[in-house]
Symmetry: C2
DNA sequence: GGATTTTATTTGCAAACTGCAAGTATGCGG
DNA sequence: CCGCATACTTGCAGTTTGCAAATAAAATCC
């Protein structure tokens, strides 16, 4: 019971390494945070700056600069919203989508490898457990203590 | 199946927030990385610099400076090894132990809260699953691709 | 409608973090 | 002793960070 923290620590550390390992695609390579930003822009439908910054729990000013960097790399496009000209809508460029997809693929390959050490039942149980854990973390509202 | 990455992403993100929330103890507060360093020094028995740096996957030079910072804060003590005077043995000071314990307590409280949304069976299953997942990640050797 | 306040984003710092290359000091194998 | 490997530190230069302050565009109040 007491080692839950430790197991979680190990899993997050390993998953962090995994993510870090998957930040290079051919010529372009991004930082870990930038990889997460690409991922979230891809997931959320035409999000604003705030939305992504909030999702990732990062300071908006830091985020603003990260986006500038990603725009310089031509991976992200920023368009002023028609509805509210204060907000900027983010989306991935074609190259950004390509990079995000390639990263996704690498990570999926890793995950497949990891789960290959389990039988179907275990795999199913683990995935179900992760979802349950995540749901309970969400209920507890850990992020905004 | 395809959303495993996403669930893991969310869990690690939330656990990261949780860790970050637990970096202040009374007067002293440490950074997230420093919290992890304290944790690992506490766990491993009189480790060397290398050992902890390796465990956390961080550059030894960066680590060296983090340790300097923690020594300045009087949370860590560094003693040259008797066996090999190139090596420095790390340990927590009394205050360091206190801080580590306080952080541990806060995190445990959060975890208790999180698991309070599950019944005994679910809790057991989840913990078992995390251990299995961690073991499979270890087998895959994700960290040193 | 104009003044005031709120909201979304950007810039100016100054501090912290990062990693590579080079340095110091110790150990080891001949 | 000499040369090489190892453990750690330091110099530097680039990146990241977050707070405070600026801008600019809603939204609200009168």
């Amino acid at each position: 019971m007491e080692d839950v923290r430790h197991v979680l620590q190990l899993i997050t550390r390993r998953f962090g390494f995994l993510n870090k390992n998957c930040c290079s695609v051919g010529g372009t390579s991004v930082s870990l945070i930038q990889s997460h930003i690409l991922y979230e822009i891809d997931r959320q439908h035409h999000p604003s700056m705030q939305q992504i910054a909030e999702t990732l729990g990062m300071d908006i000013t830091t985020f603003s600069r990260q986006i500038q960097s990603l725009i310089r790399k031509k991976l992200v496009k920023k368009t002023p919203s028609d509805l509210d000209r204060r907000v900027y809508i983010l989306e991935l460029t074609t190259e950004g989508k390509f990079v995000a997809a390639a990263i996704e693929q690498q990570i999926q390959d890793y995950l497949t490898q990891i789960f290959s050490h389990m039988n179907e039942f275990e795999k199913d149980t683990v995935i179900r457990s992760l979802k349950l854990l995540n749901a309970c973390m969400e209920k507890t509202g850990v992020c905004c203590g």
